[in-house]
Subunit: 216 residues, 2 copies
DNA sequence: AAGCTTACATACCGGTCGGTATGCCCGTCA
DNA sequence: TGACGGGCATACCGACCGGTATGTAAGCTT
């Protein structure tokens, strides 16, 4: 295993484990064991467990950025982009009942805000997500799909809030049929998409999300 | 300290501590220390830490049920009820930046779903909250405040999702001004309240929420 | 080939965790 | 007044935690 391979293996294993349970429960020992490396290797690459989490956050975005750029590709109409986003959320987080909620924010809630770096990583994470939402909203608005124009940055946050809430709900109530109804309904309502356009788009994005490879 | 006092003290202390940080970080020792009792007393009243969490969940509802019944009192108009709810969420969770997110679902995400009792307690918690939402929506609909009638049970869930998402966001970005804008906006949008009625109600509920007493 | 660095492996550290065993104190009731 | 049991307090347990100290084998440099 080359150098970069070992580090990436640790990153991916940590992602998968934290994803499946949570930051506090998953120990360094277990991450190492699953990754097939030793603790010495771990602390050769990361100065602490919290540091690993920060790097994993960055790594996570690097991985799914491709997916997001694909979802929000300009070749897709705004409605298609929205539908793609919905499909993506299902696939990446609700395709089986072992993955519930957003692990990074669950984790963030566990680490505590005293760790400045962790907090910063989480802020970046959410801000990036909101930025993607904003682009989508602008496209929807420009395309005349929205009932009215408002504060689009706020709308981007609203969408973010809602998605996070739905994902968290899925943790306790992993009823995928309910979620499959609630997620689009809430998004269309929050965005204020004109009723004529509800559920009118078909997904143009069919590739398997890269993030799935993180799961066991 | 009488028998029931000791147990309640433990319950309240645990609530406050978990509220301020999270389940994993707060240890039994610290709960005991803060409550001014010993570990022996703790394990006299609770069979485990997870069991404490379950009882605390029930206790929590018992405490805030008074507030909720007050907020959703039939003497208030539906719009007033909605405004009361918004105010309640601010007061109980956003009045200072030490309280972020819903501690019970943060905690639930930490304990793990392998503990059946904990999962059950969380399900009850969310279901009760959704039931309150449903009553509000029915009242709003009956009063003609909504743009259209839909699946009200679903709407109740949407509102629940959204509130949870906003509260979680507040954990990472404790910017109360943003939240104060986002929370009502999202709720009005999700509920589909007619624009004429947006922000038209004044709160009729001014009492200090009982739950505040749990905070340090 | 000598010397140095990288990339680990192994063994182990002090501390903390949730949980338990035991016994004392004190109110109750015979 | 003495036996008894609920309501604790104290002392302690083994497991496990994140993190470290030290060793070492392989490669790169000179």
């Amino acid at each position: 295993m080359s150098v970069v391979e070992t580090k990436e293996k640790l990153l991916e294993t940590a992602l998968a484990l934290i994803w499946q349970s949570n930051y506090s429960v998953v120990g360094v020992n277990e991450i190492c064991k699953q990754a097939g490396v030793t603790k010495g290797a771990f602390y050769h690459h990361f100065e602490s467990k919290a540091s690993l989490f920060c790097e994993a956050t960055a790594y996570y975005w690097q991985v799914i950025k491709k997916d997001l750029d694909n979802i929000f590709s300009p070749v897709n109409s705004p409605l298609e982009q929205l539908e793609n986003l919905i499909q993506f959320l299902f696939r990446s987080k609700l395709s089986d009942n072992t993955v519930r909620g957003c692990p990074f924010f669950n984790a963030g809630a566990q680490i505590g805000t005293d760790d400045e770096k962790v907090l910063e990583a989480l802020k970046n994470l959410s801000q990036t997500a909101i930025t993607y939402n904003l682009a989508l909203i602008k496209a929807l608005d420009a395309g005349g799909y929205l009932e009215r124009s408002g504060d689009m940055e706020q709308q981007a946050r609203l969408v973010y809030h809602y998605i996070h809430g739905v994902m968290s709900y899925a943790y306790v109530q992993p009823d995928i049929n309910t979620i499959k109804k609630d997620l689009p309904e809430g998004l269309y309502r929050l965005l204020g998409v004109k009723r004529d356009y509800w559920f009118s788009a078909s997904p143009t994005w069919e590739a398997e999300p890269a993030i799935l490879k993180h799961q066991a």
